[in-house]
């Protein structure tokens, strides 16, 4: 029984590692300028966690195999080094490991979050509400008009609550249910929640940030690859949560310019 | 001169340390432990405090955590938005503060009198229940005073949902008052034991620690509300 158990543990450990090693299910391809930092950090962590996982499972299996049927009269043996040795090993091995992960992880995090957006970054406002995203571009004047919660109306397609009759800045704002951005240009995304907590997750962009009602956050990123990607909500927001999504189109600068013109005409 | 001989109160004397061999009963492994084989007898203190003494500190720790949670909620919420409305606390609160301090003093007088008897310093405890009744009365007066403060605010049109500062005022004071009511229940129990069965020293001490804690907690809350509201 014990030997079968030991073999089972080994098989499960190897079986668990195979899809990781074969990259059967992998993170989607990175299309951002900062994403490689996350990916490298992820790969390092996977190596360290994977080795820890395999080594400890194998040791567990080996000891079960070896010590489960002792000979009669066998004596208890102590692990070389004893508890002190193991504690020191844990501090040295795991301590260095987590210190390294912590420091490099902090660098990766810092390079994503501690840098201000570039001055020429393209400002886009995204509003999350049950169960859709809407995007607003400031238009030629480069300024967003103010929001009026009481003027929000789904029926009139006034998703943001803009007052285009009174607010000068709002008149040229462009609202779209789809997000288009130019490739290789930094985007400064201003996040606003209409109602509840939502989240903005684009795995390819290596971007994930919650919308916090009452607190407008912003993130910035640069996409490096033209294509169409999905934006999904990851913060439980109600019955339609699973279906709350929008498309992100990364376009060349020319395509983006013509898209903006086209959208402006639709307003 | 006439002398009054009091009926000895029904109070249990302190437990005596037991240096003998294991007796029936548990709880002797307490703070200092008896080590029967090769132990150092000088370090031996063969009984632990009755569980009520430990239990009350544990309970007070939990209450402290709860009010710490309320406090941090208040600070975070105040900083979260600019809608915080400052207001003047109802002045009856300061009167209530005096009442709850007085009640603690009354209880301490009662406790010391009983403790002196229990510890064998005095043969009799002079009418120990009297000061307990005073404490009970002052405690009820405090709750009544708090109720007066709530009604006063409400009559001025400031309800629970008027502004979040009022919300916190009501939540903190009501939570405290409920705990005070619990303490009053404990006092009633102590009086009942004194009158009808046997009062244990640990019960009395635990109840009075709780009561003093309610006073300290109120002083803290008053300071917090005075600073933040």
């Amino acid at each position: 029984m014990a030997k079968i158990f030991a073999v089972t543990i080994v098989l499960i450990a190897i079986g668990s590692a195979i899809p990781i090693l074969m990259h059967t299910w992998d993170m989607p391809q990175d299309i951002s300028t900062h994403g490689h930092l996350i990916d490298e950090q992820y790969a390092d962590t996977m190596a360290e966690a994977g080795i820890s996982f395999l080594v400890s499972q194998f040791l567990l299996a080996f000891f079960i195999w070896k010590f489960s049927s002792p000979k009669p009269g066998a004596k208890i043996k102590s692990f070389p080094g004893g508890a002190a040795g193991l504690v020191i090993a844990a501090f040295l091995l795991v301590g260095t490991e987590v210190l390294a992960l912590g420091v490099f992880g902090a660098k990766a995090w810092a390079s994503v979050y501690f840098t201000p957006p570039a001055a020429n970054a393209l400002p886009i406002q995204v509003q999350a509400g049950q169960f859709a995203f809407y995007f607003r571009y400031p238009g030629p004047d480069g300024t967003f008009g103010p929001l009026h919660a009481d003027q929000i109306s789904e029926a009139n397609a006034n998703f943001f609550g803009l007052d285009t009759t009174h607010d000068q800045d709002s008149k040229d704002d462009i609202v779209s249910a789809e997000m288009a951005i130019p490739v290789n240009r930094e985007v400064h995304l201003l996040m606003h929640s209409k109602d509840l907590g939502h989240s903005f997750y684009v795995p390819e962009l290596r971007v994930h940030q919650d919308f916090v009602p009452g607190l407008d956050l912003s993130i910035h990123f640069t996409a490096t690859k033209v294509g169409k990607y999905e934006i999904v909500c990851t913060q439980l927001c109600g019955l339609g949560h699973y279906n709350m999504k929008a498309y992100l189109e990364v376009k060349s600068q020319e395509d983006f310019d013509s898209w903006i013109k086209q959208q402006a005409a639709l307003q | 001169m006439a002398t009054t001989v009091h009926e000895p109160p029904k109070i249990e004397p302190d437990r005596q340390p037991n240096h003998g061999l294991p007796s029936r009963g548990s709880g002797n492994g307490g703070w200092r432990n008896l080590v029967p084989v090769g132990g150092d007898l000088r370090r031996l203190k063969d009984y632990s405090p009755p569980p009520a003494s430990t239990g009350i500190w544990v309970g007070l720790a939990a209450i402290t955590m709860s009010f710490a949670a309320f406090t941090s909620a208040l600070i975070v919420r105040q900083g979260a938005a600019s809608d915080w409305r400052h207001f003047t606390l109802p002045s009856v609160l300061y009167l209530n503060t005096l009442v709850i301090i007085a009640s603690s003093i009354a209880l301490e007088i009662a406790r010391r009198r009983i403790a002196a008897f229990m510890g064998g310093i005095k043969d009799q405890a002079a009418s120990p229940a009297r000061w307990l009744y005073v404490t009970l009365f002052l405690g009820l007066l405090f709750v009544a005073g708090q109720t007066f403060a709530w009604l006063q605010l409400r009559s001025q049109g400031f309800g629970l949902a008027t502004n979040v500062s009022y919300s916190f005022f009501y939540v903190l004071t009501v939570a405290h008052a409920l705990h005070v009511l619990g303490g009053l229940g404990g006092l009633v129990r102590v009086i009942g034991k004194l009158k009808h069965s046997t009062l244990r020293r640990s019960t009395l001490d635990a109840t009075s620690r709780y009561w003093h804690f309610m006073g300290v907690l109120w002083l803290y809350l008053l300071l917090l509300l005075w600073m933040k509201l």
């Binding site: 029984m1 499960i12 299910w25 993170m27 989607p28 996350i38 996977m46 966690a49 400890s56 040791l59 567990l60 010590f67 489960s68 004596k75 208890i76 692990f79 004893g82 193991l86 090993a89 844990a90 501090f91 795991v94 992960l101 912590g102 995090w109 810092a110 994503v112 009481d150 795995p203 994930h208 916090v212 607190l215 999904v232 913060q235 927001c237 019955l239 279906n243 | 037991n18 029936r24 009963g25 709880g27 002797n28 492994g29 432990n33 008896l34 029967p36 009984y47 632990s48 569980p51 239990g55 544990v58 939990a62 709860s66 949670a69 909620a73 919420r77 949902a161 979040v164 939540v171 939570a175």
Partner: protein, 593 residues
Amino acid sequence: MHDTSAHAVHHGVPTSFIRKHVFSLDHKVIGKQYYALALVAVVVGMVLSWIMRIHLGWNNFAIPGLHLLSSTGAPGNVLTPEYYLQLMTMHGTIMVFFVLTTAPFAAFGNFFLPIQVGAEDMPFPHFNMMSFWITFVAFLVLVSSFFVGDGPTLGGWTQYAPLSAVGAVAGPGQGLGVVLWASSIGIFCIGQLLGALNFITTTLDMRTKGMSLMRLPLSAWAWFITSIMGLTAFAVLMPACILLILDHVAGTSFFVASNLVINDQVLPHSGGSTLLWQHLFWFFGHPEVYIAIVPGLGIVSHVLITNMRRPLLSHRVIIYSMGSLAVLSYMVYGHHMFVSGMNPYSSLAFSFPTLVITIPSTIVVLIWLGSLYGSKLRINTASLFALGFISMFISGGVSGFFLAQPSIDIMLHATYFVVGHFHLVMAVAAIFGIFSGTYFWFPKMTGRMMNETLGRIHFWLSFVGTYCIFMPFHYLGIAGNVRRYQAFTDDYLIPLIPVHKFITIAALLTGLAQFIFIYNLIHSRFKGALAPDNPWEGTSLEWSTATPPPHNNFGDKMPVVYHDPYQYSVEGASTDYVMQTSPEQLKNAPDEK
């Protein structure tokens, strides 16, 4: 001489059925009541997970009879999107609170902590009785939300505001459902606080002669540490629940920000803080997952030591490690909030202690492995589950490396990776600890042995099945599969549905295997072989007394403790093991002082 037993047991042997089995003051009966409650809860929680899994694998599958649960939630026996979320919320809440908190901590702890410290009962038996019945009422309140209004809340077991705080306008179950949820959890907190009060006082004050703190078995230490965590964590959750209820019923604005618009209507709240709920909740929530797992560490150590016939390499190191886990658990809660909009500097401040927490966890695992080396391991169902626990704890633990780092957490937050991580390390591992404890202590609790063959079948199906369910969760998460979705309609998620089908089948089979356990439990309770006093040749106090223990645990004579809890294979001793109560002097095993 004064009779010191008076304060210890306030109650004699009960005679009426009600006092004996219902409103009992006996910690052993209360422990069994907690176990029964956990058993009922875990069956409910598991059936809910089946329904969810079937729905995730085959979205339009009609589950016969489901409309009986809710005709609106499952018209034509097919789950609606909102009802999926409602069942999911109930699954999480029931499992975390009423299974993982009650079974390893309240059930086993109640039964065995007083016995292991050598006490006749807990110091406050009335509080103990109230603790169970309050918890029971909390369970009823929670379950009642299935049957009133538009069903239970759909907000998830974390109940993030403002979804949980704005009321019925946010969706089904968000009105009355949330109020019932928050009331239930608030009531539950009171019950657990009373329990923790008893546990702490029992450990500090009720130990018998010679039972120094370092002579307590590791299981007793684990319950003691857990009760301290419970005392501080539940004392924070209760105020949070009160504030949440007030936002609902009194129109206050603790958690709801200004100018939120639902259905084109501006909500009447103003200025509330979204993150405040998350801070309060996770300050409780992270210790809570340790409340679920630390008793498992203690139980598994206890079971393994007995079956390895040797003490662990170090008794103290395990205790200090569990203690550090408890302390660190309060400093790391922010790692649940890396993408919540917290200050990015705070994220780093929470990341480091989270990584540091792997050190005490690793030490515990290494001490187990090092002690396994050179031992005389006995294989039985209890030790198999204990070893399975170690395997699960490692597997679930290593994924913590990823989630502890905010930079990687960006990719994995709110995906199935997280679901896989916490199910393995905290849910399934804790359940394995419960199983191990059950097979180990059942003889002492009931006086009868469990069936070993059925036990082993149960183990094999559970062990393999669990890995089949929860390992693939990690792969799904790496591929970006978002959790809490009732269907996968995104282009990149559709190719992952076959994996979900595989998981569903594994979950159904593993779940079915649990009925072998329940059958074994009930059958052995009445028909099992009679158990001797010390079937596993253990040394701690529970094995010194009769099986099942008498009403006051030790009969006429309280035990006196002479040794460390785990004196196995001591050279020069007359037997393979020396019980704590044996006055035999040991030359080669210096006792802890």
